[in-house]
Symmetry: C2
Subunit: 477 residues, 2 copies
């Protein structure tokens, strides 16, 4: 965090805890400088950030005030998924979200795509452009099945930040994180098996369960502390669970991060019931504060955690470069990788490895993280301003996805139908459940540059949602 971000964070916390209430005047710039030992421009920048986030306003000649309309953001209530294994449905909805055609002119507010226009990504284009001349790379030929040694080495180095000590040979390069997840689930299960998942949960994983005839056991998950270990323990006693699949850091979609001690407890629980854990860490490197949270894998001392990640959320999904650290399941994972797609594409692996080795990746991460943190606050401000009262909003500490829980009267699949006329689309909450729960929830992306167009789009979503609440209040004729 920069200086002004720390100052803004302190002020924000006081506002959120009600120390300054809506309409209250905030300390003067001078007072802030004194208290926090910073310069005037830092204090001003901090206030500017809080204004961008729509928490406060500046009144000419009077100073800064908490916005009169500000309501401390209500976190979504803890999810209460059904406590029995379910077949996964919702493929049509997923298809509508992901199978966009290139001539689709809808503004998709909910897709899980990072900002691809950062200047810090430019060197990657350059590297890609140069690779074709380097014939010694054998870019036209198969790479090694397990993945390019150069890339595996870089991945092993990066993993240290999450407290993971991986040897490059412990890592298998995959065709996107999706393939890592699919391989993990395929080697651990047979059709009909039960897999425990946090809930809501990434639709891509749920659809793997569907395609492989697996049943999802959705474990209640708290928007702040994450999956309930108590509920998970009960479930492990009750059902023949073959694997626990979880995104415990900057969870998609809920935003939660399982605290480190609960990550350790999760491993112990899995050991007690002798079950494998499939950990999806794809947002883990996008932490707003350093050091980034440890992975569940970092507490794994007997190789039962299969760690899935990749570069789709940090560099771009178009390269399809992901990875899997399969622990004790290495041989099965390598076989499943071979039969599924053979070796991964050669040149993208080399490009990513070079981008990291030359220090561009660190620089890029620092830039986007700052941007995402700032934009989280802006987006939260918009949702608070434009969405109907009673709306709950997540408060993620990394990544670029916001989970919004609307009043029960709003059905976000129907909301999407209405949004279609405006060429808008959100990710409806039902995607994230095996059985279409979370109908009043939606996911927003705050990675793109937040232009007035986006604000206008958020405003429309809020207005249409508000209309649905109103309609529900009308007495039936």
């Amino acid at each position: 965090m920069t200086r002004y971000e720390s100052v803004a964070a302190v002020l924000r916390e006081r506002i959120e805890h009600g120390l300054y209430r809506p309409g209250d005047r905030l300390p003067s710039i001078r007072a802030v400088c004194q208290e926090m030992d910073v310069g005037i421009s830092t204090a001003q920048e901090a206030y500017r950030q809080l204004m961008d986030a729509a928490l406060i306003e500046s009144r000419p000649k009077s100073g800064y005030f908490v916005l009169p309309g500000y309501a401390p953001s209500v976190l979504p209530s803890a999810s209460r998924p059904a406590q029995r294994p379910l077949d996964v449905s919702q493929w049509d909805q997923v298809l509508e979200l992901i199978a966009t055609r290139r001539d689709d002119d809808r503004l998709q507010l909910g897709r899980g795509v990072p900002n691809l226009e950062c200047a810090t990504l430019k060197p990657l284009s350059k590297i890609l452009g140069g690779l074709h001349r380097r014939t010694e790379l054998n870019g036209f030929n198969y790479d090694t099945l397990i993945g390019s040694p150069e890339l595996r080495q870089q991945v092993a180095k990066l993993a240290v930040a999450s407290n993971c000590l991986l040897h490059p040979d412990d890592i298998l390069i995959t065709t996107g994180c999706q393939e890592a997840l699919a391989i993990a689930l395929r080697i651990l299960t047979q059709p009909g098996d039960v897999v425990a998942v946090d809930s809501p949960s990434f639709y891509g994983t749920l659809q793997i369960l569907k395609a492989n005839g697996l049943k999802a056991l959705e474990i209640p998950t708290d928007p702040q502390t994450g999956i309930s270990l108590e509920a998970l323990e009960l479930a492990l006693e009750q059902w023949p669970i073959r694997a626990i699949q979880i995104t415990p850091t900057f969870n998609n979609p809920l935003g939660y991060t399982l605290p480190a001690e609960r990550k350790r407890a999760l491993v112990q629980l899995a050991q007690r019931f002798d079950v494998a854990i499939i950990e999806d860490d794809i947002y883990g490197d996008l932490a707003y504060a350093q050091p980034r949270p440890p992975t569940v894998k970092s507490f794994d001392d007997d190789g039962r955690v299969l760690l899935c990640s990749g570069f789709s959320k940090t560099l771009g999904p178009g390269f399809r470069v992901g990875w899997l650290a399969p622990g004790r399941y290495r041989d099965q994972a390598l076989h499943m990788k071979y039969v599924s797609t053979g070796a991964s594409a050669t040149l993208p692996q080399r490009a990513v490895a070079e981008f990291i080795a030359k220090g561009h990746f660190d620089r890029h991460l620092r830039a986007v993280i700052r941007q995402y943190q700032r934009q989280r606050d802006v987006m939260i401000g918009w949702v608070q301003r434009y969405f109907p009262p009673g709306t709950g909003i997540s408060y993620p500490q990394g990544g670029f996805l916001l989970w919004v829980e609307l009043p029960a009267a709003v059905d976000c699949v129907r909301l999407n139908d209405r949004l279609a006329e405006h060429r808008l689309h959100v990710a409806p909450g039902a995607l994230f459940s095996a059985s279409g729960k979370f109908r009043q929830c939606l996911r927003l992306n705050y990675a793109f540059t937040l232009t007035p167009d986006i604000e206008d789009a958020v405003r429309r979503v809020g207005a249409l949602a508000g209309a649905m609440v109103e309609e529900a209040l009308q007495p039936l004729e």
Copy 2:
């Protein structure tokens, strides 16, 4: 075919039919010019080709002679695989073939990799190098799930040559042909199901069966006419077969091409028993004669054929660009594609599409086809010269793979052990069977530039195989 190639083909046929026998003098250059109405240099070039192929020799001042050691190539005997469904094994052997490390200095005579050093491939490097600058391509973002429209359009155009009328939307771009095969098998089967395969059969497909708990029913296959439809019919009556998987054109490894009328009959058989056909056509575009053979898919009038192909054998496997025409199984295939790897990588698809659209692909195909045909004859010549008597050799009409059947005394897995000392490796026949049959067979690749080093390597393989035959003849002490 060029002029001189036609002349050489006519002469070769006469030799093969015994019109000129080993040691016989061939017609003079002048006689050839008169008979075939060609110029002197064409006749000379034709003779040079036959010399390269080790069919004939030139004796100073006397003319051209059929090589004294020449024996008309004996085709391998028809395979007789076990007629019951089997679990697939052999993964260790496959791993040894494919999981080569980059510092592996073995000369691999058996890998299924095309010639990657052709000048006609150069424009592809150029195109790849230029793509990174074209930001409108959105190369960092996901492509459409079904695949880039530009590439699907080109694939549909190419398919016309195989008599297939496909709409671009009938085609799904995959991560290599391997993913197309894996998707097809996964949507058609459940663990425990039986799949009929030609035999010998590509190990990559057999390993998919293994990974998914499927059983292989190996159908006897003739090296010239291909899979026995009679045996297949019997098998369909006897076993609950869920799919027929076959590589009916320039088969890997046997080299056979199922005649067109038998392809039609295969579809009718599948209709009668209501079973799906998974057709692997990855070598189909590498036909030495035009027009290329039709696909089984071209006879499919009710969408039961799932056609798998790609650019790994024509351009290079490092791009991982394959495709699947899933017929009536489109929805399931799209879902399985999504859960397995998501959308395919963006830029490689665009590069391949542009390479084809600009006419480079046609030019490249023409060049490599000529080269492969020439090199087939050279490689056959070497095997005839250096391998023990009684060795059978396939005579493929396309592709770049040779199937060699050695005397029964030779075990090619053990042969590979001995070759390891010489830093040589062949693809042992056992890879191509669910249960390790074809132990006395091996597969050779004649796509690489056939240098004296390669000749020397083939000579060593032959000598070591010969030694194994000798050892078997020694009376046991």
